[in-house]
């Protein structure tokens, strides 16, 4: 999936991935897509939940050998 920016949260646990995602998304423009790389399983539920809570769009997720990639579109 194509993204406008990437955030590396591999090795980080809660609340770091969502904290950093929130900060990183502030730098993006509306309509742009952020790719978050993570290794903590929690992100699979947390990223969609964070999007539901903030009104941003959860586009999708990919998983490859323990590395999880989530894609979030800034809509707010």
């Amino acid at each position: 999936m194509k993204a406008d920016a990437t955030l590396d949260c591999v090795g980080l646990y809660c609340p770091m991935p969502i904290h950093q995602t929130a900060n990183k998304l502030k730098e993006l423009k509306t309509g742009q897509v952020l790719e978050v790389l993570a290794s903590d399983e929690g992100i699979k539920e947390d990223a969609p939940a964070w999007c539901r809570a903030t009104g941003n769009e959860f586009i999708g997720m990919e998983e490859q050998g323990g590395e999880i990639k989530v894609y979030i579109k800034k809509t707010k």
Partner: protein
């Protein structure tokens, strides 16, 4: 107007403080207006780590000597084992790059979380504002907490 979240930090335990700051940072990350009210043992979390704690009277001096406080001194609520449990927990946290109470506290404040210190406990313990970290936004009482909590979507006592 942003939705509000309030946390009462009553405990001064390290594990409970970790949970509280984690929640506060999470709240801020979903755009909530978060405030943390530090009272009783919870005041220890926002005491300065360095320097003497001044107070008047024998009982207060004794209390403040035994209850020095400072985020770095916070012990575990379980398996503290005179600091050995805390040391091990710290090691485990470092291994997984988990931030310490102090680091989370800075992060929370930078994310806009407001820190309120309870003046009643401060008065009872005979402490001055100089005992507390500069990140404390205000010194107040129950009405300040309730005014926020009344409009709060999430209010927690920890």
């Amino acid at each position: 107007m942003a939705e509000k979240m309030t946390l009462i930090m009553f405990s001064g335990d390290m594990d409970k403080a970790l949970a509280a700051f984690n929640l506060a940072i999470g709240g801020a990350s979903i755009g909530m207006e978060v405030s943390m009210f530090f009272t009783f043992w919870g005041l220890n979390v926002i005491k300065k780590n360095e320097g003497p704690i001044k107070s008047k009277g024998v009982m207060r001096k004794m209390l403040n000597f035994m209850n020095r406080g400072g985020a770095k001194r916070a012990g575990l609520s379980k398996f503290h084992m005179f600091g050995m449990g805390k040391w091990m927990m710290g090691k485990l946290m470092k291994n997984v790059k988990s931030p310490s109470v102090q680091e989370l506290m800075v992060m929370a404040h930078q994310s806009g979380v407001k820190f309120i210190a309870c003046t009643t406990t401060i008065g009872m313990m005979g402490l001055g504002k100089e005992a507390f970290i500069p990140e404390v936004d205000s010194y107040a009482g129950v009405a300040t907490y309730l005014a926020d909590a009344k409009d709060g979507r999430i209010n927690l006592f920890i």
